[in-house]
Amino acid sequence: AQTVTQSQPEMSVQEAETVTLSCTYDTSESNYYLFWYKQPPSRQMILVIRQEAYKQQNATENRFSVNFQKAAKSFSLKISDSQLGDTAMYFCALRETSGSRLTFGEGTQLTVNP
């Protein structure tokens, strides 16, 4: 069974600084997809970034980038130049190619302080 673990329940960062959120996962498959979603106070689930396991290159979306370490089954999210609007709960998620469901981690509540 696939599992996703986020070991940081809460984190905080000063505006304009950089922060890294950690995620580890477990799967028996060799190909899969990893995602980071953010959930602001509105509770909307918003896709931040995705990574295909078969791609060596780390995904980047503007201020958001990932450090994907397949052998270590690690998938961290780096947010550069943090903004107040980045304050949200961040969920790491895994989707195996053999199935369709997303399995989420417990989430990390990120607070960006002015």
Binding site: Y33, F35, Y37, R43, Q44, M45, I46, L47, R50, E52, F91, R95, T97, G99, S100, R101, L102, T103, F104, G105, E106, G107
Partner: protein, 114 residues
Amino acid sequence: AAGVIQSPRHLIKEKRETATLKCYPIPRHDTVYWYQQGPGQDPQFLISFYEKMQSDKGSIPDRFSAQQFSDYHSELNMSSLELGDSALYFCAISRKGGGQETQYFGPGTRLLVL
């Protein structure tokens, strides 16, 4: 994703009543997923449909049922409601072909069972 409609957005029911949640995907997105997010929890996969057929089943109680219709909209039917069913229910969509692995979430329906 922009345009994914869930209705109603808020719902209050009494114990043992029934509820129907609806999801209207945007065009060309033929796969629908349902997730349940309890207070302070990560989203849990309930069930998914592809081309009107159930494609995967998760931790959906026997009291719940769902279907996808010919216009691709989906309904989650919940009977004999319990206090523990109070949660945020998300519909997510994906598209066959490129990007099928990425799920985009609707705004959610907040269900409160009294």
